[in-house]
């Protein structure tokens, strides 16, 4: 509890320090536009402006006299929801970035360089250098390696911008390949794994496709029926269904980051040996769980149900038999 309150105040401080120079620059701006610019609710802008308007410096008298405070055009604010700063104190420019802040954005940019939109390497480099200058030349100590720019991405993006459908061949690990006709809604990625979330026309449902299982991707010669505004896309990539079978797995706690996106609930606390029990939701058989467990570092053991244990055993035994 004690730790949380100051953190909130710190974020609010950062917001105030960012808002003042923006308001100075804009001279007269509506609450709505400022809210849009910073991506925050209008109420947050109003509260911040009210606080700025009564804040200032102690001044010569140490009494916070009228001229030592910011002021705004109150009538314009109250009646028209417009913000005009009429007296300024102490700050007139944006604060520089902290080394950690610049470093976080630079690493994020490095990650984005796999995107077609970020293909201009020189522009990205210049932007990174600008961020670094914005933090007083601090060295970035977090770096993200180049990922493959999947060729499918270009086609997907083209279908989306042109408002066209998308067609491709798709096969899961256990399913026969076939042509899928979809309306592309959103591209998502988790580290090096890329996904397309799309409206599947044949199944009339939202589906998630791995980009590296898609082939012969092409823009379909038909207008898309659904857009991002028509379909509610859950935040998590994988949803649990009522008919899913819960599989209990014991693994090294250091492997938790590798399974975090698939957990059916919160992992148990690790035992003294750093072993941890998790539960995964298996849909359409155990194949997905089996492959996940087979690829984990250290010891990963399915405890329950017995059929899932047998599936891991059969999978590994079959693999050994190919030698």
């Amino acid at each position: 509890m004690a730790d949380q309150q100051p953190l909130q105040a710190q974020d609010k401080l950062a917001f105030l320090l960012a808002l003042v120079p923006y308001l100075i620059d804009r001279e007269r701006v509506s609450v709505a536009e400022a809210a849009r610019h910073f991506g925050v609710p209008e109420s947050r802008i109003r509260r911040a402006v009210e606080l700025i308007a009564v804040s200032g410096v102690p001044g010569e008298t140490m009494q916070y006299q009228h001229g030592d405070l910011f002021d705004i055009a109150w009538d314009d604010f109250d009646q028209n929801d417009m913000i005009v700063l009429t007296n300024l104190v102490a700050i007139d420019d944006s604060p520089r970035l902290s080394a950690r802040e610049a470093s976080a954005l630079i690493a994020g940019l490095q990650y984005l360089s796999a995107l077609p939109e970020a293909a201009d390497r020189d522009a990205i480099r210049a932007l990174m250098a600008k961020l670094s200058r914005g933090a007083g030349g601090a060295a970035a100590n977090v770096a993200v390696g180049q990922d493959l720019h999947d060729v499918a991405l270009d086609t997907i993006r083209r279908a989306m911008t042109e408002g066209c459908g998308l067609a491709f061949e798709y096969a899961g690990p256990r399913t026969q390949g076939g042509t899928r006709h979809v309306d592309a809604l959103r591209v998502e990625s988790v580290d090096t794994d890329w996904y397309l979330r799309a409206w599947d026309l044949d199944r009339q449902a939202l589906r998630t496709f791995r980009l590296d299982r898609m082939s012969n991707v092409r823009v379909d010669d038909r207008p898309a029926e659904k857009s991002i505004d028509d379909v509610v896309i859950p935040d998590t990539l994988f949803q649990q269904a009522a008919e899913d079978v819960i599989v209990t797995v014991e693994l090294e706690s250091s492997s938790l980051p590798l399974v975090a996106d698939f957990l059916a609930d919160t992992a148990d606390a690790p035992d003294d040996d750093g072993r941890v029990r998790i539960r995964l939701a298996a849909s359409n058989g155990f194949d997905g769980v089996v492959r996940l467990v087979a690829g984990l570092p250290g010891r990963a053991v399915v405890l329950d149900p017995p059929a899932a244990r047998a599936a891991v055993r059969a999978f590994a035994a079959a693999a050994l038999a190919t030698d």
Partner: protein, 364 residues
Amino acid sequence: MPATRAPRVPAEERLFSLVLALLSTESGLTKSEILANVQGYRQRYTSGGDNASLERQFERDKDDVRELGIPLETIETPGAAGNNQTLRYRIPKGEYDLPLDVRFTPDESALLSLAAMAWREGALSAESRRALLKVRSAGSEDDDGAGTLGVDTYVPRLRARDAAFEPLRAALDRAAAVRFDYITPGEHEARRRSVAPLALVQHGGRWMLAAHEFATGSEKNYLLSRIVGPVTQVEVGRHPAPAGAGERALAELERIWATRTARIRVASGSDAERRLARRRDTESDGDGVLVLHHVDPQILAEELAAYGPEVRVLEPGDLRDRVTERLRALVADHTDDADDPDHSDGPDHSDDPDHSDEEARSRG
């Protein structure tokens, strides 16, 4: 709002007032001047009394302000070095302001919004959000261009969930050396390592620490997932990472990636064939044989084990042994006593594990 005798000033108002007060002083303010006069402190200040809790509040506030990248500095009064009471605090305006050449176009701002969005968890997420506030503060042109990048149609996610990530980042920030226990695959006991961190790098989706190891005098990469237990900082301030260390570490990993290859056979029409062929830099030898690049043979072995019977390692033998060992362990860990006499659901290989082991070695 109920009227009370001593209205409590919100924390953000106190912090904001502190920053404004320290920005507007050239010569600095002493601690008692701050506590007695600055909004949010003055309401709680007892003249000539005990202000211990208020002083502690000021210490925490200073840390919060500095964490935002604000250069809150102290000046010692000449002739009174080390005297806490005469120490003066200020924020030099020139170092507070974002340099004039650091302004952002709407396109850059949109790209940075996406970059910030990649971090959704932990400290990096909070820092990205704050950085974005500053970027938007300094990029106040019209945002009409922001839509072209399609911020709502792309959701990037970078994970940094390894337990050692934040402790190592803190050590890098403080230019500290670190000690931690590190387990190498195949070894049963973790071994204590003593290193000077250079950078945290993500390569192939895995976080690694590039560091200078004191014992060997060489630069090495440590997988964060193999660090066990706590990371201890030592010699704080004495091991600053050189500029560009992250880029150099990535370049070195790329060099290793380019030279380490494995030849594998993939089953025709399998998931392994589809996905591994799309893996970065994979070459096809034709006839279902793929050449894969990697940095760490154990991680590749785990990746390949996840494809089970769809892949077979041709070379190197070491990689094949690692995959085989992993698969054997899986069979053993998933065999109950009751299964032993009759495992009719698996392929019939009841007496060949030893045999194939010999074969594997002789072929390697």
